[in-house]
């Protein structure tokens, strides 16, 4: 009886192969930091991707197939990111990779994508090295901003301030070094009379910034560019504020590394050094945003049950959107064809039009910048007069 049943099932399978294969979902591997300090951003970045996938599947999917997101925890470790990415490709048979967060993970997973000839879209890692000519290959793409764009954009803003003596503070690893270098080079070009009086390089995850803060104040800068991100910026600011660090530079401080993101201002509340400048991937109160943004904010707020919502989901959302639009354009899930479709692809995202450069596989992704102020409507600081600087002129 059992054998007969099996034969029937086998025959049935033979009869409908085309149909059942069409019902197979398109699998996207999503390696992301979901534990440790980086999970703070990894989790909301995953939420954005998940919401996008649900929305697309609700509309019938792509090429008639559903999307399936397979998530793995990279633990913020490049070796682990490589291991789970391999597993996603070999065991879960994913068609594409979207993910990674740090500037150590991104380039590491890029080599796996190259080996396996699978399209990999990096939605968050910023190091220039990811898509530098020496490391570029046909399958790696980035929808994140990069260190050149971030450093130069900050320099554009600081160049307008009436200051000459400038200092930097950045974590001592790929991201911090690259972004500080981009900032320094660009501001010297914009304003040759600028003097870089001090550069501090605390290690990533430094617990005590006091010696660095004192040392920097000792050099008497008039303005500071910082690239301390996430909880690192919080710790730094909590220690710097009572030392009158921000007063000593008249709050001429610009925090790259998403220092003005709602995650930071909400966590610090009244302790936030209100009056400094900073950036973020997104802002719920971005008035000059493209029309689609408002609707996106309402959707993500409902999806994550957070009001105002996190600024990070948009990274995962746009990364997935770029992939799906490329699949549509290629009319195929073959990585070879999708990689070609990604070249010079322009899509409409909640943050405006994004174009994937065919030359260096980098999207023209800027960030929002603004001066932080207290608005009585919120128990935390928000960015005022949000500025989005088009990164296109600074990309090469």
């Amino acid at each position: 009886m059992k054998r007969v049943m099996l034969a029937v099932i086998g025959l049935a399978a033979l009869l409908v192969p085309a149909h059942s294969r069409a019902q197979q979902p398109i699998k996207v591997g999503y390696p992301m930091i979901l534990s440790g300090p980086g999970a703070l951003f990894g989790e909301p970045a995953l939420k954005g991707a998940q919401m996008y996938v649900e929305e697309i599947n609700g509309k019938g999917g792509v090429l008639g197939r559903k999307l399936e997101l397979i998530t793995r925890d990279t633990k913020g470790n490049a070796d682990e990111a490589v291991r789970v990415s391999r597993e996603l490709i070999l065991k879960d048979n994913v068609d594409f990779l979207v993910g990674t967060l740090t500037s150590a993970e991104g380039p590491a997973v890029s080599t796996i994508a190259k080996e396996n000839k699978i399209v990999f879209i990096a939605p968050i890692p910023k190091t220039d090295q990811l898509t530098a000519p020496a490391n570029l290959h046909p399958y790696v793409f980035r929808t994140a901003s990069n260190t050149t764009i971030e450093g130069r954009t900050a320099a554009e803003i600081v160049a307008k301030w009436p200051v000459k003596k400038i200092a930097t503070i950045a974590p001592d690893y790929a991201y911090g070094q690259d972004v500080a270098k981009a900032f320094v080079e660009h501001i010297k070009k914009l304003k040759p009379e600028v003097e870089i009086v001090d550069q501090q390089w605390p290690k990533l995850g430094e617990a005590d910034y006091t010696p660095f803060i004192n040392a920097q104040m000792g050099k008497k800068p008039e303005a500071v560019f910082s690239a301390l991100w996430g909880g690192h910026f919080l710790t730094f600011a909590k220690q710097a504020k009572p030392l009158k660090y921000f007063d000593s530079i008249n709050y001429n401080f610009i925090a790259g590394g998403e220092g003005a993101s709602i995650e930071s201002t909400r966590a610090m509340g009244a302790d936030y050094p209100v009056g400094i400048w900073g950036n973020a991937y997104d802002a719920f109160n971005w008035d000059g945003a493209p029309p689609a943004h408002k609707d996106y904010i309402a959707r993500i707020s409902a999806y994550t049950k957070q009001d105002p919502p996190s600024s990070w989901p948009v990274t995962g959302y746009v990364g997935m959107q770029m992939l799906v639009e490329a699949i549509k354009k290629a009319n195929s899930v073959d990585s070879e064809k999708v990689a070609k479709a990604l070249l010079d692809l322009t899509i409409d995202t909640p943050i405006g039009k994004q174009t994937m450069s065919g030359k260096d596989h980098q999207a023209n992704r800027g960030q929002v910048w603004g001066k932080t102020v207290i608005d009585p409507k919120y128990p935390f600081a928000i960015m005022k007069d949000i500025l989005y600087i088009d990164p296109t002129p600074f990309m090469n």
Binding site: S35, G36, P37, A39, L40, G42, E43, D172, Q199, Q200, W201, P202, K203, G205, E206, A207, D208, T210, P211, F212, I213, N214, A215, M217, G218, G230, G231, L234, T235, K238, Q239, P242, L243, K244, E263, S264, A267, M268, G269, A270, D271
Partner: protein, 294 residues
Amino acid sequence: MFEFSFLFGQFLGGITAAMFLFLIASGLSLIFGVLRVLNFAHGSFYMIGAYLAWQFVHLIAPAPEGFWLAALAAAVSIALLGAIVERALLRHLYSREELYQLLFTYALVLILGDMAKIVWGTQQLSVSRPPSLAGSSEVFGVTIPHYNLFIMGLGPSIAVGAWYVLQHTPLGRIVRAAALDRETLGALGANVGWVYTGMFMAGSFLAGLGGALVTPIKSIVPGMDVEIIVEAFIVVVIGGLGSFWGTFLGALIYGQVLSFGILIFPRFSIFAVSVLMAAILIIRPWGLFGRPLK
């Protein structure tokens, strides 16, 4: 070349950092000195102490000085957690090889880390300085936050207090005896089991207190457990495992080397400390004040 006020500022910064490290490392060292267990989970106790302090501050809010009560409650909770861990779990491993104890405390790091994530999520959390210590004063041209002054005073107070209890009280005599020879002490009628539990609780209390008191100057994030345990290990390696004053000196050296190291090697702040630790391990593997292990 450097202004005096600047050097003084670096010095004070180093002292503040040292006193925090001492709070954490002293508990680690106390536990090792008596129980001969290297507690990897000490950093996890510190982290959960920080999370609990945040939790209690929010429960007690908006009482302005509620922070102090919250910090104490967090430290006591961690001492109780320590008691449970020691009596229910660690107790069964004393007769095993040290490797098993290490593996056990390492497993605790993973379990407690994940539990903290389940309870408090991955959001960065922050606690404000208590209003009574929110200000700062200027001394020799250096701005010193009052909260840092309080920490600078607290470290030595705890060191002297612990020294007095250990050296000049009957309780201290039992603890010292337990560290030297547990069997003989047991034969003399002392309840060694409770001495161990008590010491583990005292060490855990210090970890919890350190975690709670650090919240006004650091953000609370997952991963702070591993960060601190590495630093605490360096401190006890320099000072000598199990030596209380060694830990104090180790913390002071760590703080100053870090503070002034960045003037000499701006790109390698941690380098100077690591070199120092390596040198001590080569010349005096048992640390400055430690005793060679048999």
